[in-house]
């Protein structure tokens, strides 16, 4: 699933854009350094291939619902991590623009979730070691499935983290995780099978193709585990730094949402059966139950929490009325402006300046 702008905060979006851009710049550098020039048209049309392939639906066995492939694993296997990442990023970029899949700010997160994990983590750490030296079709199938599943789990988990840290959604951590991970397990399985299917298909039909690409693609000799973890650490520190800076600037925003996620202060609540059920489920599946985020009443923390609660948009009836009137007026005027401009354009004919 793609991350959406409307669930994102600028801090999280910017942090992931920073990570993604550095990865892109690094990959481009690596490609320029050791890639054969014939890869340039190949990468381009393979991107178009992934795009077209994503539009072909197939029925997922057992469920009857239709699905489509992501493509990150196929690209990583055929093109290697650097070129594969660039191609995946380009596909996601086109999707963001032409299909508004997620949005422009969220594009940074999406390229990270769907590109970094398959190309820089799963491929070198899982697929390659499993397939090295013995690339029988069975090995490839096993490696592909495990890789795709892990890659998608990481991606889905990232979406959860990105949403939680943005603080726009009320979904608690555990509930969100329980929703996302199982679904992506199934998707990962299918993706892995399709990846294996395509690779084995190509090996069977034209094995020399894979060989010739392998010799033309950028070298991966120095992509060691140390480098991968080192890179991740840098990004984590950077992200943590950016987020905490934002948190200190806007205490309400981030801290409040984290407090909301891991433990709620007592609130006056509307009683409802669904509410109660969800609450009990939450308590039963509470992640890190003895985490110190839970604010007990009477503690200095809770006093501050109480303060921040009341200082929060305590919207009184007065302001709400003006809010509704004002909104209606503004909306109507905005629409009127649009209609007027359209009419003017139609009348103006050829002598239009605007």
């Amino acid at each position: 699933m793609h991350m959406a702008d409307s669930l994102l905060s600028p801090a999280v979006g910017a942090a992931f854009w920073a990570g993604t851009s550095s990865a892109l710049a690094y990959s481009a550098k690596k490609c320029k350094a050791s890639m054969d020039e014939k890869m340039i048209p190949l990468m381009g049309v393979l991107g178009a291939f992934i795009f077209a392939a994503q539009m072909i639906n197939f029925t997922i066995p057992g469920t009857g619902s239709s699905g489509h492939i992501g493509g990150g694993m196929i690209l990583a296997v055929i093109l290697g991590p650097y070129a594969g990442f660039i191609v995946m990023a380009s596909v996601l970029t086109i999707q963001a623009f032409f299909f508004a899949d997620g949005g422009l700010l969220a594009l940074g997160c999406n390229i990270w979730n769907l590109g970094i994990y398959p190309c820089f983590i799963v491929y070198p750490l899982i697929y390659r070691p499993l397939v090295k030296g013995r690339n029988t079709s069975r090995r490839i199938a096993i490696a592909s499935v495990i890789s795709a599943v892990v890659g998608l789990q990481l991606g889905a988990f990232s979406v959860v983290l990105e949403t939680i840290f943005s603080g726009r959604s009320e979904l608690p951590f555990t509930t969100f995780v329980l929703l996302m991970q199982p679904v992506h397990l199934a998707i990962g399985l299918v993706e892995g099978l399709v990846t294996a299917g395509v690779i084995n298909f190509v090996y069977a039909a034209r094995p020399e193709i894979i060989e010739s690409i392998a010799s033309a693609r950028p070298l991966v000799t120095d992509l060691s585990m140390k480098k991968v973890f080192g890179g991740l650490l840098v990004v984590a520190v950077f992200t943590g730094g950016v987020l905490s800076w934002f948190a200190s600037a806007n205490p309400d925003g981030l801290e409040w949402s984290i407090a909301k996620t891991f433990g709620k202060p007592e609130l006056p609540e509307r009683n409802s059966r669904i509410e109660a059920l969800i609450k009990s489920l939450q308590n039963k599946t509470a992640f890190l139950p003895d985490y110190s985020f839970k604010k007990a009443e009477g503690s200095p923390d809770s006093a501050e929490a109480g303060k921040s609660e009341t200082s929060w948009p305590a919207i009184e009836a007065g302001t709400s009325a003006s809010g509704i009137i004002g909104s209606t007026l503004v909306l109507v005027s905005v629409l009127l402006i649009g209609v007027v401009i359209k009419l003017l354009r139609r009348k103006g004919g050829r002598n239009r300046i605007i």
């Binding site: 669930l7 508004a100 009836a317």
Partner: protein, 268 residues
């Protein structure tokens, strides 16, 4: 959405981007920067913001009107991609039941407000992205990105991808149609057929890449792509950027709706 529908929609929005209106004629850099600034501003609103977001609809409305973009087409696309955001957002009312305010006896909880906020942000950001591509040709956007510092190789990749999307989609479409005609009603096909379809398309793609490389070599290619294009950043671009920047700042900082609303209340 069936394959044919997606193909048509993609082609349609691509055609729209080559229209000739004031907005279309602006330098792509202007539009890209303005759109990004718009999105970041909208997203920066807190989770309970509603009235603050309303005036921002001025921007998409202006783009629609000045750029002569069909509203219904864009709205339909917005609806189609709303699934994830709506799905996540709709849990908000379930988990946040603090009553924010009551209006004529109706109690509104924080959850519904934040849900509405997500919806509004969604409408604004997604239509902004679609309007950008509807008023700026994709090569133009790539040009803007290049000037904004995106690596040359990636720009090259984007342009190549864009160029061959329609070619590959047509190729895929022919194969999909052939499959449909031999399917006699069964919706979709098993994984096996899918894999051979994709696998064949993959092989053909590689062969095509080989031929493209051949024609590149025939015309003297030695490794560097020269992309020659002159966009001129003009006076209207500066004006638009300045106006957008100021407007975004004002709308973000001042509660326009509140001001207008209070004035209206006073008058009645």
């Amino acid at each position: 959405m069936s394959f044919d529908e997606q193909y048509f929609k993609l082609g349609y929005i691509d055609t729209l981007s080559y229209k000739n209106t004031f907005i279309h004629r602006l330098d792509p850099r202007t539009k890209v920067i303005a759109t990004l600034a718009f999105v970041v501003t909208v997203v920066s609103f807190s989770k309970y913001a509603i009235t603050g977001l309303v005036p921002f609809f001025l921007f998409p409305v202006l783009m629609f009107a000045l750029g002569d973009i069909p509203v219904w087409f864009i709205l339909r696309k917005v609806l189609v991609v709303s699934v994830f955001a709506v799905f996540v957002g709709m849990f908000n009312p379930l988990f946040d039941s603090r009553v924010m305010f009551s209006f004529h006896g109706l109690q509104v909880t924080g959850g519904w407000i934040s849900f509405l906020s997500i919806i509004l942000k969604f409408l604004l950001t997604i239509s902004a992205a679609l309007l950008l591509i509807a008023t700026t040709s994709f090569p133009g956007i790539c040009h803007a990105l290049r000037k904004l510092g995106v690596p040359e190789l990636f720009i090259c990749q984007l342009l190549f991808l864009y160029r061959y999307i329609f070619v590959l989609m047509e190729e895929a479409m022919r194969m999909v149609r052939a499959r449909e005609m031999r399917s006699f009603g069964a919706r979709g096909q098993g994984l096996r057929t899918f894999v051979s379809l994709i696998g064949t398309l993959f092989l053909r793609t590689i062969e095509r890449a080989e031929r493209i490389y051949q024609s590149m070599l025939s015309r003297g290619f030695t490794g560097t792509m020269h992309i020659a294009k002159a966009y001129r950043f003009g006076g209207s671009d500066l004006v638009c950027l300045a106006v957008t920047g100021i407007a975004l700042f004002i709308l973000r900082t001042y509660d326009i709706v509140g001001i207008i609303g209070k004035q209206a209340e006073r008058m009645f």
